[in-house]
């Protein structure tokens, strides 16, 4: 019984991973040159920032919340970096520290509002989204391209891997973030508390868990991840622009959902999010390789995938519900048997 329950928890994750393998396999069969290490690694290179954003979003969604501000914070980070580097000629290192601190504190403020005033995450982060986008345009309406030598060299640097394939610095950062996130989610008190809050916030409070502190930290973490993704995005695009990363919050939420995290909170894996991001990347690559399909098919396919995964989640939820009900019925029967046996024993003794 117990083993079966654990397997059930992994089902969405397994479906996601097999879907990714299937899509990549189909691409390899149908399109020439698709099956190469570099095509696979390009999935990481082109989606490193999305991976970082989605990792932060995973924590938010596991805790039962939502963060709509991530895309705007990415844009704000690129904008502030570009302005400080190009207009004010700052040294790159203080710029990096400043933008990361800025993202984290924006997240922290939103977390405080959500916790202290019991406001809905949806509307608070919506306001945060407006604010961050607005601040972008206050810095500049036009795109600022970055010519700073350090940024340029990081942007062009490729870390060679096996054969003649390579990855970018952004990928390294994304993988480090992912590893740290997996550690935080599964091996720290903070991670356990996040799952507990998502499972049932009131129970978490009654258990004496630091719910308020954790909630604020979750949004701070998401803000920090967005800022870090913004830094990676700056390396990727070498420019700052207020229209960068529009709609990235939706991509991030889609990646998390496809990755098998339940939107009701409490269930999910950070690894799943990585595969969610990779699936989004594969869809885009498939459409590029095909050449005859137009770009808007990407959106339609992502929408259909989201629909399929939500349906699966619903089926899964009601499935576990029945299973739990079945399990508790079995437990009750067993208890009744034990009680009956005990009374028999007692009567035998007397």
């Amino acid at each position: 019984m117990n083993r079966f329950a654990i397997n059930l928890n992994y089902i969405p994750l397994l479906v996601t991973i097999s879907l990714f393998v299937l899509m990549f396999g189909l691409g390899s069969v149908f399109y020439q040159g698709f099956f190469s290490p570099q095509v696979f690694l390009n999935l990481f290179i082109d989606n490193a920032f999305l991976c970082i954003v989605a990792t932060g979003m995973t924590f938010v969604i596991i805790s039962g919340g939502i963060d709509l501000s991530v895309g705007s914070v990415v844009a704000l980070t690129t904008m502030v970096s570009a302005a400080l580097l190009e207009t004010y000629h700052w040294n790159p290192f203080p710029v990096l520290v400043l933008v990361l601190a800025m993202g984290a504190s924006l997240g922290c403020v939103m977390g405080c509002l959500i916790h202290f005033f019991k406001l809905q995450p949806f509307i608070v982060t919506l306001a945060g989204m407006f604010l961050a986008r607005g601040l972008c345009y206050l810095v500049s309406i036009d795109s600022i391209s970055i010519s700073n030598p350090l940024y340029a060299s990081i942007s062009q640097y490729r870390l060679p891997l096996f054969g003649d394939s390579s990855i970018s610095v952004g990928v390294v950062i994304a993988l480090v973030v992912l590893t740290v996130a997996i550690f935080i989610a599964h091996f720290t008190k903070f991670g356990r508390t996040v799952y507990a809050i998502g499972g049932n916030e009131q129970s978490a409070v009654l258990m004496g868990l630091p719910v308020g502190r954790t909630k604020i930290l979750i949004y701070t973490l998401s803000g920090f991840c967005s800022a870090l993704a913004g830094v990676v995005f700056t390396f990727y695009m070498l420019s700052g622009y207020g229209l960068h990363a529009t709609g990235m919050e939706l991509d991030a939420i889609a990646a998390v959902v496809i990755g098998g995290t339940l939107l009701t909170g409490g269930v999910g894996y950070v690894v799943g999010t990585l595969f969610g991001v990779l699936i989004l990347g594969v869809i885009q690559t498939l459409i590029t390789f095909d050449g005859t399909l137009s770009s808007w098919w990407t959106k339609i396919v992502i929408g259909l995938l989201l629909f399929a995964f939500c349906l699966m989640q619903r089926a899964f939820e009601s499935g576990t519900g029945k299973l739990k009900a079945g399990a508790s019925a079995a437990v009750q029967r067993r208890q009744a048997q034990v009680r009956a046996m005990a009374t028999k024993d007692v009567s035998a003794v007397t």
Binding site: F116, I123, L131, L263, K299, I300, L306, R314
Partner: protein
Amino acid sequence: MDLLRNASDLTRHQLFWPLATLALLGVFNAFFSPGFLHLEIKSGHLYGSVVDIFNRAAPLMLIALGMTFVIATRGIDISVGAVVAIAGALAATMIGGTLVIKDGVPEYVTKVPIAVALVAALGVALLCGMWNGMLVARIGMQPIIATLILMVAGRGVAQLITNGQIITIYYQPYFFIGNGFLLGIPFSVYIVAAVLTALVLITRRTALGLFIEAVGINPTASRFSALSSRAIIFWVYAFCGLCAGVAGLIVSSNVKSADGNNAGLLLELDAILAVTLGGTSLAGGRFSIAGSMVGALIIQTLTYTIYSIGVPPEVNLVVKSIVVFLVMLLQSATFRRRVFRTSGMQESAE
């Protein structure tokens, strides 16, 4: 003392704060932008800033109407922007984007009769809403996710309809919806007034409004009291889709073109903001139709104010976000309690 009590009753009224905000904006405009209150009749049409605000706010008011009921049932519909794009794209494609010039005079041609195009566009919008309603009411998905699917896929569908292009409409009679005047007043205002009157009659003169509020306050309890919550939720989403469809027609008629990518962009957020500004809580339950209308007018007046006093339009988003922050703090019971407690302490100290 009585006067004081009356004043406090007044401030406690649901519509007090929205109306006060609107009045404040109006007074501000009357002082700082000359000619704000000026109305004149030019060639039989009423012209003036106030008329302009009403005309431009029409799509937002319509969507806010649909959104009010969705939010009252504890839901949210973030796909309205995409539905606006779909409806506009379909109408524009069916009318056709060709300019026919005969003997140097442009002729008004349309591929199908205009009535067919309008009915088709509204029908598809209704179907979109019913799709959302089915996902929420039948399958039991979370509203934000159910509508996220259409929000992502809908933009793709809209671009599919227009083939990724911006379709310009040259058919004169179509312009009447968004630009026409009837008895000197913009036609779009009539549409809003008609929908508004019908809704107020249906929800306040019959028990439907009460039912919707009951579903929002406690879906389980209302099901036990023999309300068909599922049907109510389903039709609320369907109606919201229809409202978005009408708004899509007005928008595309107003700008005389359909753009699958940008039509109705961020309109869902403005609509949610309008409903919240009007005093309907995102937690469901009591709703205020008049409040949502005032909320939509506040947003449009705010935009107008920002443009008219010569502040760069980029600030618009920042101002909007500050307004959202203020409003949600005022709506938060915890925040009010804290503020009132401190003011009470000050009084007792005196």
